[in-house]
Symmetry: C2
Subunit: 178 residues, 2 copies
Amino acid sequence: MLEVEVKAHVPDFGEIEVKLSQIGAEKLKVEHQKDVYFNAPHKDFAQTDEALRIRKIPQNDGSEFILTYKGAKLDDSSKTRKEIEVGVENAENTAAILENLGFKPVQTVKKDRAIYLFEDYIITLDQVYDVGNFVEIEKGMGEGQDYQDILQDIFKIYRKLVIVVGFERRSYLEFLEI
Amino acid sequence: MLEVEVKAHVPDFGEIEVKLSQIGAEKLKVEHQKDVYFNAPHKDFAQTDEALRIRKIPQNDGSEFILTYKGAKLDDSSKTRKEIEVGVENAENTAAILENLGFKPVQTVKKDRAIYLFEDYIITLDQVYDVGNFVEIEKGMGEGQDYQDILQDIFKIYRKLVIVVGFERRSYLEFLEI
């Protein structure tokens, strides 16, 4: 699955939440996410622009865990990249398998994420611990499709939210490593 | 988790099933297992004696999938080794993540497995496609413990089943690669 995704750094969410309500975006849920990123034994993901992480999302009835691989970004204006996810039973054994294969945990990213749906776009408001506040707009698409139309729509939605500056291709991981 | 495990190659299961019944072993279940083994991009698991696999176990209500790492065997008489397992949501995305990290699927092992419990030992009768019939007796133990007592008990159980030859440290994978 390719993820077409654009991120913007914003000072706060006050005005943006008002605009989301005005355009009719539906607030789906709010969750806490704790992501542990790993680096590889045979290459440096910081150089290859790949990522491997285990995400923990605490729920009322136990936590959800997701293993995710992200490929290198495909263009200069967005964060479009291959993204493959699979739910896993727990984080501890998943991390132990990765570590025994030679992967090393390198960084942890914690955030509170509010997730909205607008048309078929996912809009997230991320309050990232020790990094700042970000808005992400994304949509998944099949591999091989042209994503310029989706990118244009994403920037249209940003204009509806009166966000015209602060666009950011760096990951939260890269922010934490500065 | 360390798995203390001894395997024996047998001509058939007829007599063994009778003995299992006589000693009071409890038949827990019968299942089909399809295992896809992967090799690593940065080392050759055939050399390091490690293994990485995705197991699919078809169930009535959808399949179960397990990702497993096995470390090198620790002695010359058994298959005792570190084993780490985690349930995963599906095989397709798990394999796609591994392949994007550079791991390659190298072999598939299919078998029908009958699983028995005797005291706190697991006894399995494996009919491995294109390989043959095998009995495995195993028990998990914490790391750092001495496993000689467990090994002795395992060989006692083999004697109860009148299995005294055919002990085998090679994996099904290694048999298929001959």
